[in-house]
Subunit: 242 residues, 2 copies
Amino acid sequence: MKQLYIVGIGPGGQQDMTTRAKQAISQAELLCGYPVYVDLVRELAPDTPVLTTPMRQETERCRAALRAAAEGTTTALVCSGDAGVYGMAGLVLQLAEEYPPVEIQVVAGVTAALSGAAVLGAPLTHDFAVISLSDLLTPWEKIERRLAAAAQADFVISIYNPASRRRADHLHKACEILLRYRAPSTPCGFVRNISREGQQSCILTLSELADAPLDMFCTAFVGNSETKVLAGRLVTPRGYKL
Amino acid sequence: MKQLYIVGIGPGGQQDMTTRAKQAISQAELLCGYPVYVDLVRELAPDTPVLTTPMRQETERCRAALRAAAEGTTTALVCSGDAGVYGMAGLVLQLAEEYPPVEIQVVAGVTAALSGAAVLGAPLTHDFAVISLSDLLTPWEKIERRLAAAAQADFVISIYNPASRRRADHLHKACEILLRYRAPSTPCGFVRNISREGQQSCILTLSELADAPLDMFCTAFVGNSETKVLAGRLVTPRGYKL
């Protein structure tokens, strides 16, 4: 039986991909994905046929990958970051029962919470929550409830999809909720274009983050009550005796 | 100036390491780490001197790495999973100011939440929280508060350090808290020895997880209110129209 690999390619550069991800891509007979992500891995499989679908056509993308694999074509569906975290693995597994049996392998990758944290220092040394501010697929009330719960219980928070043109004020609204429970001086940070050309990072306070010019290429981090800025890095201690 | 790399090696096998992590290890003049993790990467640098410290000597390990780097030895401090998530990056950055300046690079890796999720299917497709049940460095009350908050706000939860000989009942106590807010039938899973020899995985309900024989080599997953078991895999939908 031919295979369908759902591959997390990490933040972008080949440096940050796992060997397992590279092998799945170079052995595939078809590469599926969102055009930008396929381009990022094209070098690994320059002659492999490609099937891309635009943003918001995720279901069609997953169906095309399942159909190809079911027809006997070893297929790699590439996702930025991890294959699972807000990635396509869930959708493929949901749709799989409509297709003839295919062996599906999920290949984990370095998600933006990890790659962004490494750029900023070590904000995720303690319990953390990952929350997306995109309300395309999730009611905003649910997002607000999760932000409040995570802030109240003193989780470090990694924020995905902090803003887009259509949702320019989401980050501001999110920070207002966090500010009910966290000090305005709480150390925060964000990274734009992690591990790609034009990478930028910034450490700032929670009150500054509320009005910072983030876009859809950014991942943000909000410290817990113990997070500090040390020599320009965002660091959450874990309680070791120094 | 010589470098100190804090390197996340992923779950274990070289297949799951990033190229950046492999390069940092093979270029280092000294490998530091917990003995088990150093062994996992020894093949990449068979002739490089090694400095290990036992469990609970994390501070000494980080100090040794900082001292070596400050003396001009390019050093790689290896961590299982990610370098930051419950890893050594935070501790090194805290201690760094006591040593002469060293260029510190944090190299992200695939943490157990991601590698374990890939084994089970796609439980982390939606907002999630990562919580360690180890109370060596964190008061148990704080852990309980975070479990309750994450359960109430319907996060998927990835549980690190679910049990050890000294803390045999921690997972049971944690599940009791989760059961206040989540149905006993909530789909859950755990993976033992992710990507290593003897890997085992299991999908079960939250009430079954409470009494399951997990140990310190396991990572557990608790679904949110929408998580399902589909064809033997743990899947959290994200809301796409099928």
